[in-house]
């Protein structure tokens, strides 16, 4: 959808909300279709789960919500639920004649937003739009103050007709505006739309990060960054929009997931000591070690002690950066529990992470836009489990200057669903990455997409670049996933990807990127917090909502949405 279309749709929301209904029983399907029409939703039906997946994969932006029966002959409804959540990050409502609580529980743990019993009544359907709004709102909220300003581009912007979100968006916009001068020029400048897109390669991004680190995250201004980077043909606008995205991403990460990203050379988070002992040392871009194959804790520059990873060690939090005094990361110390959950959630080698920091070595999140950071640049990605405590922590965390505490565990949601999502995503991503060389392949098929793919492909492989508002507007800035790729390749080597489902990988090439990321993320969670990778991953996950994510948030969104659904 174009921005305009999205805006229009938003205005009338929930009227016109696009629902995909799946049920093998044609009687029920027909009734459901009618009921949904009566609610003024736009309905597409299919009686096959496979077909539903195809439709969804074809265009992630095409639907806002999926309603699916549980018992279907060609695929278990729960499986479909998982796949949809992982790949598309859409809210899914389960439908069944089984009133047995254990089915309901299963639905919830697989990430369903709601579970309806047959026969479905229209009253129940009249309110299902809340799930769409909620998931978007949560995603937005995740990005906190840093929102993308570009108009409706973001997940928030698009399809978000919720008044709260609108206000939040405006608020964020204002904040952002205050923070950055150059912000919108990409969006606003019509000429920028015609500029050739800049592909942010790993190398380029490294330079960018190095420049930012050098200048200080808070103080980094596009012009200075540009000067430091000293790259020909890169314009200040390119840098500005890239910076914006980066900040948004970070912001979003901190907001949504309290995962601590492992450091990586791309990691430009800096943490101050004050907060909770998370200290991020900017990692020189050159180091380029994403913590190696996640599994290999070795990569981590930080001592494992502080790993927020919570997965394995309570001290995971501290592990983010050397200085982390793990205990201080009390907030994240839910780890033990979280770990349990985490494990449950994802089959990724969370456990094996030394530091428990899944995010370790996660490739840089593609979604820079996520990285928006407000004044308070600390992004604390807490362990999902830690989530409850997270908020408190978070408030303490944000310290004065760009402290990005990225917790490696983007999967805040205790349900298995997110975990799987993460895992699959990461796997996908890493697979995609590994399959493609580290160069930027021009083609956009599955693996190559990751590399050369423009960032504008929002977290999930969007087939439509224009779905990302900011993308279109920021013609000059396209972030390619490459840097993620970089990480993933490293990560990949570690081979500790959780369940790699080839199916997943191939399903959506674009996703691959995200998938990979997420996977990595979960895999390395806890190893070290704060890497950009983590941020990216978490961002990606969260951002993987249909359509809205397009902004390029990777994964991060999806994750949050997962949480929502739970």
């Amino acid at each position: 959808m174009t921005v305009e279309q999205d805006c229009v749709a938003l205005d009338q929301f929930p009227v016109g909300m696009r629902v995909l209904a799946v049920d093998d029983d044609q009687t029920c399907l027909r009734i459901l279709e009618s009921l949904l029409h009566r609610c003024q939703y736009h309905v597409t039906t299919t009686n096959q789960a496979q077909k539903a997946l195809e439709l969804l994969r074809e265009n992630k932006n095409k639907f806002d919500l999926v309603i699916s029966d549980v018992d279907m002959p060609d695929m278990d409804g729960f499986k479909l639920l998982e796949l949809v959540g992982l790949e598309m990050d859409l809210p899914v409502i389960m439908l069944s004649a089984h009133s047995d609580p254990k089915y309901v529980m299963k639905g919830v743990t697989h990430g369903a937003c709601d579970y309806l019993l047959k026969p479905v009544r229209i009253e129940e359907l009249k309110n299902i739009w809340q799930h769409v709004v909620r998931s978007r709102f949560d995603k937005n909220r995740g990005s906190n103050n840093g929102d993308k300003k570009d108009g409706s581009g973001n997940n928030e912007g698009v399809a978000n007709s919720d008044p709260n979100n609108g206000r939040a968006n405006r608020k964020r916009k204002d904040q952002y505006n205050e923070d950055e001068d150059e912000e919108r020029d990409d969006n606003d400048d019509p000429s920028s739309q015609k500029k050739p897109r800049v592909v942010w390669t790993v190398e380029l991004h490294k330079k960018f990060v190095a420049a930012v680190n050098q200048l200080g995250f808070e103080k980094a201004m596009p012009k200075k960054i540009l000067d430091l980077m000293n790259v020909e043909k890169l314009t200040r606008e390119n840098v500005a929009s890239h910076l914006q995205k980066f900040r948004l991403y970070l912001k979003r990460i901190s907001g949504n997931q309290q995962a601590i990203m492992a450091n990586s050379d791309l990691h430009f988070l800096q943490m101050s000591n004050g907060l909770d002992g998370f200290h991020h040392r900017p990692i020189p871009v050159g180091s380029g070690q994403f913590h190696g194959g996640a599994a290999a804790a070795g990569m981590r520059p930080f001592s494992p002690n502080g790993i927020l990873g919570r997965l394995n060690t309570p001290s995971g939090i501290g592990g983010v950066r050397n200085n982390l005094s793990s205990p201080s990361s009390g907030m994240f110390l839910q780890n033990p529990t979280d770990l349990g959950k985490f494990h449950h959630v994802s089959s990724l080698p969370l456990n094996h992470i030394d530091g428990g920091n899944i995010l370790q070595g996660l490739p840089m999140p593609l979604e820079f836009d996520q990285l928006q950071t407000n004044n308070n640049k600390s992004i604390i990605a807490g362990n999902s489990m830690a989530f409850p405590s997270f908020p408190t922590q978070q408030s303490s965390l944000p310290n004065n200057n760009n402290h990005l505490v990225l917790e490696g565990h983007p999967q805040a949601s205790p349900s298995a669903f997110p975990g799987h999502q993460i895992n699959k995503r990461l796997e996908h991503w890493s697979n995609a990455v590994s399959s493609s060389s580290s160069t930027l392949p021009p083609a956009q098929n599955s693996n190559s997409i990751i590399i050369g793919h423009q960032f504008d492909v929002s977290p999930l492989p969007h087939s439509k670049p224009d779905s990302l508002e900011w993308n279109t507007q920021n013609a000059s800035s396209s972030y390619s996933i490459p840097f993620f790729y970089y990480d993933s390749s490293q990560m990949r080597q570690s081979g500790n990807y959780g369940p790699t489902t080839d199916a997943m990988l191939s399903s959506n090439p674009k996703e691959g990127f995200i998938v990979g990321q997420q996977k990595l993320q979960s895999g390395f969670m806890g190893a070290e917090a704060g890497s950009l990778d983590d941020i990216v991953n978490s961002t990606m996950k969260q951002e993987q909502s249909q359509g809205d994510l397009s902004e390029g948030d990777l994964g991060y969104g999806g994750f949050s949405s997962l949480r929502t659904c739970l």
Partner: protein, 154 residues
Amino acid sequence: MELAQMQKSLQDYTKSLFLEGVLDSQFLQLQQLQDESNPDFVSQVVTLFFQDSDRILNDLSLSLDQQVVDFKKVDPHVHQLKGSSSSIGAQRVKNACVVFRSFCEQQNVEACHRCLQQVKQEYYLVKNRLETLFKLEQQIVASGGMIPAMELGF
């Protein structure tokens, strides 16, 4: 028969179905979904229901007639029938399915046979009644009248 009379007959008839428990409020919801943009909705859905159910009942008969009954196959059928019958408001069919399922769980072949009979009986009953209902409706429409909206106060 006069139009008004036909309409009254239809209403009474429909009411009786509710009173007997053959149909429940879900059927009313279906009727409410029918409108100008969707004029034959109820009959379409009910027709689909008949098609599905005929098939399911057939499959059930076959399954239960096997030497060794595979309840893993039987149960999903019954479950589906339960789902669709409840969706259209065929209350008695649905209730019979519920009983049927519990015997499936117990793997009681004989009881299941009886249940199947019961389900079939209820199904044919509702099928018959609904077909009559539709005929009445058609007559009214053919006479140029409108189908009266169902009153809920009974």
